[in-house]
Amino acid sequence: MLAPSRLRPLVLLAALTAFAAPAAAQSLTGAGATFPYPIYSKWFDVYKQKTGVEINYQSIGSGAGIQQVKAGTVDFGASDAALSNDRLKEMPRKVVHFPTVAGALAMAYNLPGFSGPLNLTPEIIIGIYFGRITTWNDKLIAAANPGKTMPAAPILAVHRSDGSGTTNIFTTYCSAVSGEWKELVGTNTAVSWPSGVGGKGNEGVSGVVRQTPGAIGYVELAYAKQNQLATARVKNRAGKFVEPSLASTTAAVEAASAQLTKDPRIPIVNGAGEGTYPIAGLTFLLVYQDQKDPAKARALADFIGWAIHDGQELAASLDYARLPDAVVKINEATLKSLTANGKPLLAAR
């Protein structure tokens, strides 16, 4: 492979010193989630310019990324859903989670003749996706939107047809606010939907929503912002109707930080606090706690350290919510727990 010309002296130097010090210009490989791919590729790009460390990432989906981690074919995996206890046990060695950025789901809707913003409560969202609330002038919706006349149009509930971390966050939220949902439908990247239609990808869901008067669907906040979709305000646990935004998403992470300290895998949906947006989730890097190759492990740890500090500055420009300081501290503690062949990685330097 040809290196850019200004890196060539560096590569040459690396080759010359390769016999003395094994880790001059490392390259790392990762695979997994598609949701954080835009920010990750930006990070990898900027990080390569800064340090010369090249990171190859395949955005093949969280599920496939987890498989690759299990098979040991990549240096790190990426997933929108944290591994369950069962899945962790299936892994050959202990895997740790690094939350990197947060994202939220916006409820995008298409209601001609209605001047927003639309207010939704958890009961309305659950009712629509169960297929029980079928028209927009339902009394629950009217009660949440006082002073507005709701059209009598039928509701079309749109979900992701492809397995997706987005669906995982949405169904996590539904299970958190409705015991019935938890029992009958559950939480997963793909579930058995009680009603509605499925669109493939964010573009598929938003395509159906834009095309169909009366449709409502969940899409990633970044996608909704970039495509200027009309999005609803959702009632949070404190009883406030909150717009989906980067700030209200970070607030959701902040609100959960006490639990996240105990276990970074805890879902952050339906969090406490007045300003928190309730349908939010973190995306993770998955790394083996005990690494085999000390040089690679150090490069990986350095990158994660950079991503959770300096890298966060780049998040907002790509519509991802940055981590609050409390969660950065959790990541720092996890970084310190990494070892290479049993020896602490960071203390060794």
């Binding site: 969280s62 492809d162 997706s164 439908v185 579930v191 058995s192 239609v197 499925g198 395509g207």
Partner: protein, 331 residues
């Protein structure tokens, strides 16, 4: 008349006689040629066998766990590990059947016109354009289905169907534009060029003597055409089966317009899903062991379905060749 045409066509298809040469070198070259070609032909078979083997292996957990119930149940629940393929089997058959129903009459008439009635140059030009249609990537049809067909169905066609034919279970529900009807129409348009262009070729290859004989016996133009079409029937059935194969396996366009739910509904306006679409949708994120296995079994099922359809087609061709009827008449 029918049998005459068929036997004429069969004569054309008789294998080449084995060449006997006196030169040893030429014989060796012939043998080498045959061995190489046989190896290539066997490779194709080996690939198919390997694919079946891999799919069976991948599907082993659900095959063991659900057995025949997999074909008969409608649950598809990755959370609670319950999998049944019936909604997808149903969706595949209904969408493809609908497509065939919509495409066959106009496509056949178009082929007859192009082969029999149009002036040769016009026929060739139109056929060329139709063949171009067959090479349009399916995602283009999908985009058309979402952005052009769906709004039209939603605002015009489906409300009309509900108002006038709503007493039939086929046309009940809300007019959302996406669903089985949309998928059937998109598929019909996708397979029409295949049927038209192959049927035209087959009609053109029927012996001219048939037509002339019919006309000489005082048949009208339409009757003469009926004779030709009768003679070409096995080939036309083959063309239709090829088209049906495309409809059964079509993935991208159908996924975009069918609505993707695993509910079986009598209404054509309701959303559904096909075997190909559920694989395309769920394969990348199916990290769960059993979920992945269920998708493998769907793939196996789709493969089996196309085999069955092809087998039925062979039988149909045999039957339309009329061999048995000839035997019956002779005795």
């Amino acid at each position: 008349m029918n049998a005459v045409g068929a036997s004429l066509m069969r004569a054309e298809r008789a294998p080449l006689p084995r060449r006997r040469t006196t030169r040893a070198g030429a014989w060796n070259a012939d043998r080498l040629y045959r061995i190489v070609l046989r190896a290539l032909a066997t490779t194709v078979f080996a690939i198919v066998a390997l694919m079946v083997f891999e799919m069976v292996q991948g599907a082993a957990p659900t095959l063991r766990m659900f057995g025949a119930r997999f074909l008969a149940t409608t649950d598809w629940d990755p959370v609670f590990d319950k999998f049944g393929a019936l909604p997808y089997l149903y969706g595949t058959l209904v969408s493809s059947g609908l497509a065939l129903l919509l495409a066959l009459p106009p496509a056949l008439w178009a082929a007859i016109y192009l082969a029999e009635l149009a002036r040769p140059r016009l026929g060739a030009t139109l056929a060329f354009v139709i063949e171009l249609l067959a090479s349009i990537p399916s995602i283009v049809y999908g985009i058309w289905g979402v952005f052009v067909l769906a709004p039209w169905l939603r605002t015009a066609i489906e409300p009309w169907l509900i108002a006038h034919l709503g007493f039939l279970p086929l046309f009940q529900g809300f007019p959302f534009g996406l669903g089985m009807l949309n998928a059937g129409i998109v598929l019909a348009i996708m397979i029409t060029p295949t049927i038209v262009s192959l049927s035209r070729e087959i009609l053109l290859s029927t012996p001219g003597a048939l037509r002339e004989a019919a006309l000489a016996l005082g048949a009208t133009r339409a009757e003469a055409i009926a004779v030709t079409v009768g003679a070409a029937r096995p080939g036309i059935v083959g063309a239709v089966i090829l088209a049906l194969g495309r409809a059964l396996g079509e993935t991208m366009a159908v996924t975009m317009v069918i609505g993707n739910t695993n509910h079986i509904s009598a209404s054509l306006l309701a959303p559904g899903a096909t075997m190909a679409s559920v694989i395309a949708n769920e394969f990348t994120e199916a990290s769960d062991h059993l979920h992945l296995s269920a998708l493998f079994e769907i793939a196996l099922l789709l493969f089996a379905l196309t085999l069955v359809v092809n087998g039925l087609a062979r039988l149909l061709v045999l039957w339309t060749l009329g061999g048995r009827r000839d035997v019956a008449r002779a005795t």
